[in-house]
Symmetry: C2
Subunit: 444 residues, 2 copies
Amino acid sequence: MTKKILKELLLNRNFTELRKELSNMNPVDIAEMLRELEIDEQLLVFRLLKKDEAADVFSEMSGDEQKELINGFTDQELSVILDEMDEDDLADMVEEMPAGVVERVLARTSPEMRNAVNQLLQYKEDSAGAIMTTEFIALKETMSVKEAFDYIRAVADEREDVYTCYITSGARMLEGVVTVKEMLLSGLDEQIGTLMNRNVIHVSTTTDQEEAARLFDKYNLTALPVVDNEGRLVGMITVDDAIDTMREETSEDFEKMAALNPKEEDYFHTSIMEHVRNRLPWLLILMFSSIATGLVIEKYELAFQAMPALVALMPMLSDTGGNAGSQTSTLIIRGMALGEIRLSDFLKVVFKESRIALICGLVLGIANGLRIFIQYHNIVLASIIAITLVLTVIVSKLCGAIMPMLAKKLGMDPAIMASPLLTTVVDVCSVFIYFNIATILMGL
Amino acid sequence: MTKKILKELLLNRNFTELRKELSNMNPVDIAEMLRELEIDEQLLVFRLLKKDEAADVFSEMSGDEQKELINGFTDQELSVILDEMDEDDLADMVEEMPAGVVERVLARTSPEMRNAVNQLLQYKEDSAGAIMTTEFIALKETMSVKEAFDYIRAVADEREDVYTCYITSGARMLEGVVTVKEMLLSGLDEQIGTLMNRNVIHVSTTTDQEEAARLFDKYNLTALPVVDNEGRLVGMITVDDAIDTMREETSEDFEKMAALNPKEEDYFHTSIMEHVRNRLPWLLILMFSSIATGLVIEKYELAFQAMPALVALMPMLSDTGGNAGSQTSTLIIRGMALGEIRLSDFLKVVFKESRIALICGLVLGIANGLRIFIQYHNIVLASIIAITLVLTVIVSKLCGAIMPMLAKKLGMDPAIMASPLLTTVVDVCSVFIYFNIATILMGL
């Protein structure tokens, strides 16, 4: 259904038809269309949705949109929606709301839900605990497959993922895992204990979210159990939340690598001033850092007064250095994010990059040296450029390899050591190399 | 089990213990450890694995490793492993093998498997068809839940994902979807036709993989059906393959944005010469493109001979322009990749960026103008820098917005319009603005 038809049905108050159309739509699409409507119209649509659908649509809205809706809902309506929401979605929402709204929300939720939400809110923002749900299925070793299916049937409605079931001991310790597929393929009398796999890939509540998401990728998981410090099963991460984490962490890396403070909302939902706040700090820091390059240049006034062509070739050298360096830093940052490159690989990386840099530098140096010689018929200038290029490319690629790994070693995010900061460092180096070689070869 | 223990057990030929240890390990971890062993030892380990485990471990190895193993396997061993492999994994493997190996492999697979693989190989590399599996579960509307479960039990062993079942009509047209959870929650006599959801999110075999992966993220899917041109169900994409696609496409974007030709293998599995081949072309193109900046500078020799400080400030201006531009281009490229920004948003983006750029430019211009005035006590130089910064930031951010969108409009990948290429364009602009303003204000 297009937005236009929806608008028309709303305008004509043709609610029967509207309800029918809505029941055929995916909650994600309904949320997307609601976004374009006035709040009164949004509330009207919510009243036409089934309970569970209303909760799904509500969960898809952004924090600001949810706040507005909560203010519009009656207490009764709010209770119904909160009741049907997944605990982890509710916790995410509560985290973003102002105190007044939180109070109203928590007053309308069941005591169990409130407990679960309070628990979830205690985990650190980037931890596995913060993205897990506490609504998992826990079976006992002694159950038969039939008993397990009966149990699953009884609780499935309240669970996000019913296909991966965990086996816990008396003290809620994680003992094993069994899938519904495995149960379907066994006799109904078989014991869960004989079916289960005792080697469960799991994380702790304090594990980094990114690390948890990486396990989904590495082991092709659809669910990942989360245990507390004592090894007790306290939650599970579902694959949709792992995918969200991957997307968010990747966007964060893209943004950090472009000298941006990562933003929460998408491009259009971020205000002008918010965009400015995310961009200005790094622009200022980098702008003032590049004064260093200027200081180096000032020292060599003599050289470029003697041969003005040196100035014209400066951007080419620093651009090439910056590009060569950011090729390397991007590969290293990405490789570390994916777990392909470890800190212990440091020497291997440096050795590999040295050889790559030498070959790239030689090709670039010879190509551009020849070009300069043909254009200016000046063998000194051609040699200055060729030698500077070789050295600049080597230094840049080594900086591109060393800086992100050093950042990681120091507990910082390697992503900030990408193109922008790297370019500033490489600029100083390339200018320094350039004018020193020029001074030597020109005999100044 | 650590690699050391494995090595020891192999050396002592303690196969009973080794088999026991292996049966407790995840295939992904076994593959990781095999990688460090000699081929003879690898073959030995394979002979100790259970059939299905051997196939799983084999599927995790890289193309080169698989080739070596295939050459080491007896015909009998090869048949067993191929038989247990997922069709889509087998197709991926066959695609990378030399003709001789492919022949041997296909001779050892069942006719049905061979047909499926041949079919999968016909889809274009980046299409949904190329990552789908043909091993899905198709039910009929008229089945009861009990019949459906019986059918699932009968075929589950050969299927990757049994939890999402599709309903097809006589002509194999996709009619609906039903989950095992929904079936578990219904009576055994209920008809599938009444349970199923007719609004199935689906893609066609020719849909772009990235687009398909994005649907998993948007709609929180764990499986996505694939239909042919006539709407017949021909396959399904499972969530692990969608996650692989996301990771690969993101890595490709990172690499393109850093002026790298995307590589297939990870950092350490790419040879030195391969790395050079992926890096040199763009370095050469960009190096020679920045000659343009040099040409602009050469025209203004008069200006920087009159005020040498102008040269020292050049890197600061072009770096700031480059950074401001790549902040914008990164947000736009990422926004388009995630589907948040569309081509139709062009004017909205340009308007938004203009305002952000104006504010950022003014702050940077004033801050640096003041700094210059304090340092050099030269109001003309301070004004030149301040005005140039404002204009450069505006031009850079507009280029950063327009260039990726233009690329997309022209059917190119927006990711190539990132920092490296953008910097080259912005360099020319900033130098041009700089020296023009300098010439005017200095009255040259």
